[in-house]
Amino acid sequence: MVSPTPSADAQPVTPQTGAAAAVDVVLRCEQVSVSYGEKAAVHSVDLAVEAGRVTSFIGPSGCGKSTLLRTFNRMNEFIPGVRIDGRVLYRGQDLYARDVDPVQVRRCIGMVFQKPNPFPKSIYNNIAWGPLINGMVPRAGRRGYLDDLVERCLRGAALWDEVKDRLDENGLALSGGQQQRLCIARALAMEPEIILMDEPCSALDPRSTQRIEDLIDELRGRYTIIIVTHNMQQAARVSDKTAFFYVGELVEFGDTDQLFRRPREKRTEDYITGRFG
């Protein structure tokens, strides 16, 4: 299922840096617009997200970055009156094509939310539930399979050492930062290709934020991560690519270093230097 399209010419908004090395595009937006009733939230966004990279979306509140993020796993469609135009292509397939099942989309594209929202279940079941209901667990050797899976995901989310002796405890008994890592572990259990993170640190203290950022760094390469953040320093620290949004428009998209050091757009510069936002 790897996209065979040569990608060098398919990067309209990315500045070409040096040689036209083949870029593995996992998610592509083509003229994506989102509106709630009369109110337009996102206007005609073109964007290509590279596989294995960390891409951050920044911009002031109400700029449409979270709205756009939620179109990537079809979490927008529970909002009454929402309308999505344009195409969102995952490995070349339109997520909004008529024969695409949103449940299937969310299996491949996981999500971590702003406020940690573990299930009011044991730590173990928080992770096991997704694979179980999706029929990913073989019937024979079920327990052993799940034990392995839980350990692997908790290790993957850098939480194993803290919780390995109390997997039966309720996930809500953990601290806020641990809960958020549990939510990341829960997303990993589905073996998604992309993980969407909607301001995952905004409810956390600096120490927990640090741990999540370290974790994002560890997940880099194995997963494609798209992170919405209010915190520009965070975007600068964790991401390879940064997209700056302003009132529903994608103003600038490029390598994080370049965008923060030498923004091409005046509005980007004003925002990252703190002149508004």
Binding site: P80, F113, F119, P120
Partner: protein
């Protein structure tokens, strides 16, 4: 500089007002409780000495000393069980549908408004409906099942409205968490929303059934019998229920039957208290596992 020690007269006035209101509110609360206590004391004084074990095992009689409550008690318990079996699944299912699946359009809004209105319709009207629908149209006779279904329809709106409140109170972050790991709407509802809403749903169910068990009017309309010397065995048997039996006793000329009626009231109250206690226990069991 403002001195902190001596409060000025305006502030003193505000404090007085505050105290006055808290007294007033307390007095109102006491009024309600005192009225209830008076009722309870009155009933206990009249009926307690008549509440002997035989009272629970005998059938109704012309002689006050020989009168018993058994057919009415059994009738009430059977009725409430059948009512619950009918109204709880239908009511909770309707609540789930309206809250989680129904499209938000004009039709659902009309349905919602009408359910709210139905909750306010007097019980006797439901009795007429039951008479026309179950007794006449469906030929269920003046039977246990007719009475139970009528009470079921009577409490359905209450169950639907209160269950919806409970389902709506489940944070949407929980739904999103489940959907984000590839759950279907139904899996989300079944595994997460319903367990989280269960305490609230159970409360609504018990409240509704408590209302049903105390209703006499609709049962009288559909023709529950005043004198039934046997316990119902089949769904189609004629039956009586505690409120009807109490109503009948209270209307008899022999003053001793007032005491018999009081004893009947105590039995009904005991039944109600048991149901409410069960609800509290179930709710605490279910609630202790869920916190956020």
């Amino acid at each position: 500089m403002t001195t902190l020690a001596a409060a000025d007269s305006h502030l003193r006035g505000r404090h007085t007002k505050g105290r006055l209101f808290s007294w007033l509110l307390g007095a109102m609360t006491c009024f309600g409780i005192v009225m209830l206590l008076l009722l309870l004391v009155q009933v206990l004084r009249q009926g307690a000495s008549w509440l002997r074990p035989e009272f629970l095992t005998r059938v109704a009689s012309r002689v006050p000393e020989k009168a018993g409550v058994l057919p009415a008690l059994v009738g009430s318990i059977y009725t409430i069980v059948i009512t619950a079996l009918f109204a709880v699944p239908v009511g909770v299912a309707a609540a789930i549908y309206l809250e989680e699946f129904a499209p938000r359009n004009r039709l659902t809004r009309i349905i919602e408004v009408n359910i709210a209105n139905l909750a306010g319709v007097p019980a006797i009207i439901y009795g007429l409906l039951g008479l026309a629908l179950f007794v006449r149209l469906l030929h269920l006779q003046r039977s246990l099942v007719s009475g139970a279904l009528t009470l079921g329809i009577l409490v359905l709106p209450v169950i639907i409205i209160a269950s919806r409140e409970a389902i709506r109170a489940v944070p949407s972050s929980l739904r999103q968490a489940a959907l984000a790991v590839g759950a279907t709407r139904w899996q989300t509802v079944w595994h997460h929303v319903l367990p989280a809403a269960l305490p609230g749903v159970l409360t609504s169910v018990i409240l509704a059934l408590s209302r049903a068990i105390g209703e006499a009017a609709p049962l009288i309309v559909i023709g529950a019998s005043a004198y039934v010397p046997f316990c119902p065995r089949k769904l189609t048997d004629s039956f009586t229920a505690l409120p009807i039996q109490i109503f009948t006793w209270a209307g008899l000329p022999d003053p001793k039957f007032q005491n018999v009626a009081a004893a009947g009231i105590i039995v009904l109250l005991a039944l109600l208290l048991t149901m409410n206690a069960a609800a509290v226990i179930i709710r605490q069991r279910a609630g202790s596992k869920l916190k956020w």
